[in-house]
Subunit: 491 residues, 2 copies
């Protein structure tokens, strides 16, 4: 069965994304409102992300642990800003038992099994973790604590989109405790660097490191650092955040330590996380109207070989010819799939692997067998070439590297082409309709930011960590500014 084409990005970007996620077997809506099923192919990409990130965290000394899914309602209220930001739209567990319906219709909630205190399915775990750290931390000797957990979380979002905004999502959340402010700030910045390196090196997604304005800050943080990426429709996507929490949670949960001078102090904290939202960023940065484009470093299969055959003997001959090269590729760490199934035609397979974004496709048929050649197609540019079979292994290995670099460069060029300085609010209102990042002077107040958001739907994505000092005037109020910040519409 030939598949119909995807809606093009130009036609309807949003619809293109929704179709692609489902058609490429990445994820789908479940029977539970707003919750997704991550399908094996999508999960395989997520697993690769996890594995790389986990190694990066561990190399900085972080260890994994696991904290409870459910959080007592009262914990959320301990930190005043946190509850405002998080406690509202969430899944609330009120009972712990069902019973047979007295009227015989299935099961009903047992009214006698009502919890004394409601439990909340974690929207994030600062509160339960800091209530635990209270028992772990007594002296400076117990610090730092560098914990991470890979977990599911829930936020009862009203409008959901696969990977980008779902009621349940998977993520990692790091929670660290430190003896000094400096050490905690350094940790928050270190993890931001880890995220940026991961995004750029593995996902091939260029990002801007910055700090959030007060309006966009994590509820309970002193500073929220972030990495921001630009999607192909010119909208921004926040790809990861790292928070310097000061002593807010230590105070809320009374977590103190005896310092080397035997004086009691509150502990300093950070938290940082990335989620399955990264899948959305990955898909939207590179993919095209033919389907997914995956960076080789994260592709579950980097190379697929499609033998073109009519009889079983032909297939056999192709498999025999190619086996040593496939073996050699695998020995050098390349993930190769050989699709010798006869359930589908070669044409169907070509379309399928294009849709699924396999970086390199190899095809070998009767003529190639005769000439001792093989056809190599790259997914990113869709270019094909026929090469001598004997050069295959080295060719593929350097091609994978080239693809990884090329898609990064393409994304980076796109971002540059869609980033502009804007100096007046009138110009801003016009330019923001075209999408992209607008670099503007801003007076540093929440009021101005809110006015801009209300009037243009654009927000400050971040104050870049690396920016030129440039004295200017706020485009809205004319008040002084020391440098440009990034405005954009965002996911």
């Amino acid at each position: 069965m030939a598949k119909s084409k995807l809606t093009s990005r130009k036609e309807n970007y949003s619809e293109w994304y929704n179709q692609l996620v489902v058609r490429a077997d990445l994820a789908e809506q479940s029977a539970v409102r707003g919750c997704m099923v991550i399908k094996p192919y999508g999960y395989a990409i997520w697993e690769r992300m996890q594995s790389v990130l986990d190694g990066m965290f561990k190399s900085t000394g972080v260890k994994n642990a696991y904290f409870p899914l459910l959080i007592p309602k009262s914990f959320l209220c301990r930190e005043a800003e946190h509850v405002e930001g998080f406690a509202k739209e969430c899944a609330v567990v009120t009972h712990y038992r069902l019973k047979n319906d007295p009227e015989g219709k299935g099961v009903v909630v047992d009214p006698e099994a009502k919890l004394e205190e409601e439990l909340i399915v974690r929207p994030t775990s600062e509160t339960i973790i800091w209530s635990t750290y209270k028992n772990w931390i007594h002296s400076w000797r117990d610090l730092p604590i560098l914990c991470n957990q890979w977990a599911n979380v829930m936020r009862w979002e009203m409008r959901t989109r696969l990977f980008l905004r779902t009621a349940e999502f998977l993520w990692q959340e790091g929670h660290t405790a430190h003896a000094t402010k400096e050490e905690a700030e350094e940790e928050a910045r270190r993890m931001l660097d880890v995220y940026a390196e991961f995004a750029e090196k593995y996902m091939a997604v260029p990002v801007i490191k910055g700090v959030k304005s007060a309006n966009e800050r994590f509820a309970g943080a002193i500073n929220t650092y972030c990495i921001e990426a630009m999607m192909q429709d010119g909208k921004a996507l926040q790809a990861g955040t790292s928070h310097f929490l000061g002593q807010n949670f230590a105070k809320a949960f009374d977590v103190k330590f005896l310092n080397k001078e035997q004086k009691e102090e509150y502990v300093w904290a950070t938290s940082w996380g990335v989620s399955t939202r990264l899948m959305g960023a990955l898909i939207m940065t590179h993919s095209d109207d033919n389907g997914l484009v995956l960076p080789p470093l994260l592709a579950p299969e980097q190379v697929v070989l499609v033998p073109i055959f009519k009889q079983a003997e032909q297939l056999q001959a192709i498999l025999e010819r190619t086996a040593p090269a496939i073996d050699a590729l695998r020995k050098r760490g390349v993930r190769v799939l050989v699709d010798d199934s006869d359930k589908q035609t070669p044409g169907w397979k070509f379309a399928e692997y294009e849709l699924k974004g396999v970086p390199v496709r190899l095809a070998m048929g009767a003529i190639d067998m005769e000439n001792n050649t093989i056809e190599v197609s790259r997914r990113d540019t869709l270019a094909k070439e026929t090469i001598p079979f004997d050069s295959l292994v080295d060719h593929v290995i350097s091609l994978l590297d080239e693809i990884q670099q090329n898609i990064y460069k393409k994304a980076s060029d796109f971002r540059s082409a869609n980033t502009r300085k804007v100096d007046t609010y009138d110009e801003f209102k016009k330019e923001i309709e075209k999408g992209g990042f607008l670099l503007c002077h801003w007076d540093g107040t929440s009021e101005t930011e809110e006015r801009i958001k209300a009037e243009t739907k654009a927000t400050i994505r971040c104050i870049p960590l690396e920016r030129d000092e440039e004295k200017g005037k706020c485009m809205v109020t004319g008040r002084p500014s020391v440098g440009r910040v990034i405005f954009a519409r965002s996911y």
Copy 2:
């Protein structure tokens, strides 16, 4: 600070276990009733288990995926036996929003945010997964589906114990769909073999493969296969189960496929799982009154080096001398920790790593430096020896292997010594008080099994897959039996 001794196993086995789990930094109770915090050291062991199992699953063709945490209440009722077994004691989400308390006391559940249908935190995922498979399966070409997920689940247990029985626990659950009964049965047996191999080879826990009696079967299964281990108090622990589900869930969720003859058939199913309960089995099988004993293949650190020094120069000299050997060990894949901290004394460190079950401890002080020797202690037997420093690398590598084999043999000998044939019910009542596995004839009826359970607290752990055919008479009713089954008290 010197640590006080653990309660001994003889004194109070149950208390010994509870203390050990906490003191060895494996896990602790959380602020949420029945839910545990898995601490970094405990989680590191679990991660190693996950990683090995995950590789074993994948090598049989299984792929990971992720399905929603919450399950609509009505789903649980679709399979009649399943709801009886699972739907009762569970966490029920009834609302999706909190609001500020009108009386100003924190937050309260918003009565206007009541869900139309309650959602259950998954106690297991057959129902949500088979409701999903309905959309994935149309033709024989779509089969088999071999999915696994690593996830958290909740069962509202009244009496909980760390790792052994907790309201929330971590596990993997495999769910497969097949075109034929034979293929599904084969899959259930294949995964049982994977579990048994993992338990014996990696955990060094000998297990008996068997099938459950009807009473102990998974709710909704046709057959439940299991592996059963014996703990040091003679009680049995079910370490993993693999279910042949027949067409029960396919019928409940109307999942049919067109076979090669273009006829519609219901799909055949299996599910299989192991959980953080394995941690309990690991701890209770090998550990002693001094603390944890870990099998080298799963120990987060396999070797710890404790330098014994007074001045910094001494430490420096020891580190320089040992560095090449430590390096060589790491290059050969050995996980080595060098504890050169001056926060604690060597004596404290010795006790700590003993408590934490590090398989091999190396100590090097002034005399060893002079003699070019090193002290090697093994955790399993507590034996120490001083060896020439130059033979260290090979010595440690073969010692790790020896320890892995020795603790398996020890556990296996213990099980043999505590497994006995019993032929009369009077003898049974006496013998069951001593613990261990009792091999008895049973008439195959639920009534007899229930009577034995009510009178002795012993249950049939399994009907071993490999057992001698032996005609006999049920020890209770005198009715005929074709072979012995295993009775024991259990966790």
